[in-house]
Symmetry: C2
Subunit: 290 residues, 2 copies
């Protein structure tokens, strides 16, 4: 299978797990909005969970709760990030955003409940080989998603919009390490944690991958096709926000992303040939058009 | 000690646990907003955790993560509930709401991170006598807070504002069982769950207590003093929303609340004299002025 097909297959397995969880909730408009928000993503974070788990001898079924949980956290962050008081986006994955299709209150509640669902999935009976590892996954996901991780990155991002001076390269790197890096890092390390193994090699891999992903996002914002991307582009430039492209130039950003992908591949050395799919993933994040 | 002093002492212990958790987060405006949102509550939910734990032989130190977690979830729900797109309240606990004091984006993110913090506290190393019980607390809190519990109640509440017909007594009871009952129920059951004991007696106690609490809230909304309550009153009447008072009448609502308090006290029978503080709590919820 080529990489996009592998990614799609992993996303499909994860979507089925999420669908079953949603089906167990009482019917409500909020549940419909949650289901809508979970649709159409690439599933990169779920893929990282399932692939990292496979590398550490954990069966897909045992890793699916973690894969579904990280996609629920990611979806919640997008729903809230798109709100008028935040990034004010009306298009996401080629569809109207949740607050456009429903209303702001539904989007706030759907995002809230998606975050809760992530922890419910992760702590469900049978969600890990043993309870201590299950607690570790919950604890590390909360650290990655909260005010020392993803939310901190989002807060820095919003502060940057009203800052007098554009951010420096160091500041943007810190911002992105929180905003996108923390969840990608958790996803890649979930497998070794489920197995009780050392997550350090996949931590190094995902730190490089996460930053490459964000640089690629900035490049896509400048060079991309909004129809393919399914969201509005060139917003950063219009807002006068510093990005990896504004700071490094287009070609400098492309070089940096390529270097990071090489770093990510190098971090996989201990796994040998078995990590070929994760190497493909690293190359994919800087070649994607969406 | 009389009951308000016991409640204040429990709230103070919980606040110290939360302060330590906040101090460990990187400094940010979101962290400041989180700290602000956690201040000034009565701490009824934390009290229920600590008191239920004491009844089941769990030391306060071992129950504080759960007490802090439930207050963080409660605070998050208030911050989001006060947003302009939700209840649009500018006053809470006698102070400007978070989105008034900061802005909407900060309030959305602070609420998000408070929810995350709850799960981080609950899953922190040493947060329970054993990992299986810790996972159970995480799982049940997620069920109580999410789209089958508190968020469902909030969604029903918002739907009621635009509904053509006012809600019936059954519908309001269902709404409140989610909106306030689910967290109160979790709080009361956390102690027995930490001890590996049957939570059924405290589940019955808290189901009656939670409903009495909400009826008292509706009574307070009609008869209360906004200065003492620290929030705007008589909003439900102005909005034409059905409440326990509009459906049962003031005296009918008072009678129903008193009956529920008697039910709550009865559920404590297995604990004998040792549950006197929880009996006081039940009487307190219908006599409070805030």
């Amino acid at each position: 299978m080529n990489f996009p097909d592998i990614l799609a297959a992993r996303a499909e397995q994860t979507a089925r797990h999420l669908d079953a969880a949603l089906a167990a909730l009482p019917h409500s408009g909020v549940r419909d909005a949650m289901a809508y928000a979970l649709r159409g993503g690439k599933g990169l974070r779920a893929f990282l969970v399932l692939e990292g788990a496979a590398l550490h001898g954990i069966a897909t079924a045992a890793a699916l709760p973690a894969a579904a949980a990280i996609e629920a956290i990611h979806a919640y962050s997008l729903v809230h990030d798109d709100l008028p008081a935040m990034d004010n986006d009306d298009l996401r994955r080629g569809q109207p955003t949740v607050h456009v299709k429903w209303d702001e209150a539904s989007a706030i509640l759907a995002g809230d409940a998606l975050q809760t669902l992530a922890f419910e999935l992760l702590a469900a009976p049978g969600g890990a080989p043993d309870a201590a590892r299950q607690v570790l996954l919950v604890h590390t996901l909360a650290q990655a998603a909260g005010a020392a991780g993803m939310v901190l990155g989002q807060a820095l991002d919003i502060a940057a919009e009203t800052a007098k001076a554009p951010l420096t390269l160091d500041e943007i790197t810190t911002l992105q390490a929180g905003k996108t890096g923390a969840l990608i890092g958790w996803a890649a390390q979930a497998g070794p944690r489920l197995a009780g193994d050392d997550p350090a090699p996949l931590a190094r891999y995902s730190a490089a991958l996460g930053l490459a992903f964000q640089i690629a996002d900035d490049i896509l914002d400048v060079t991309g096709d909004a129809t393919k991307a399914g969201k509005r582009l060139r917003k950063d430039d219009a807002a006068g926000k510093a990005t990896f492209v504004s700071l490094l130039g287009l070609s400098g950003a492309q070089t940096r992303a390529a270097t990071l992908v090489a770093e990510a591949e190098e971090a996989l050395f201990p796994y040998g040939e078995r990590a070929e799919t994760l190497r493909q993933a690293a190359r994919f994040v800087i070649s994607r058009e969406t």
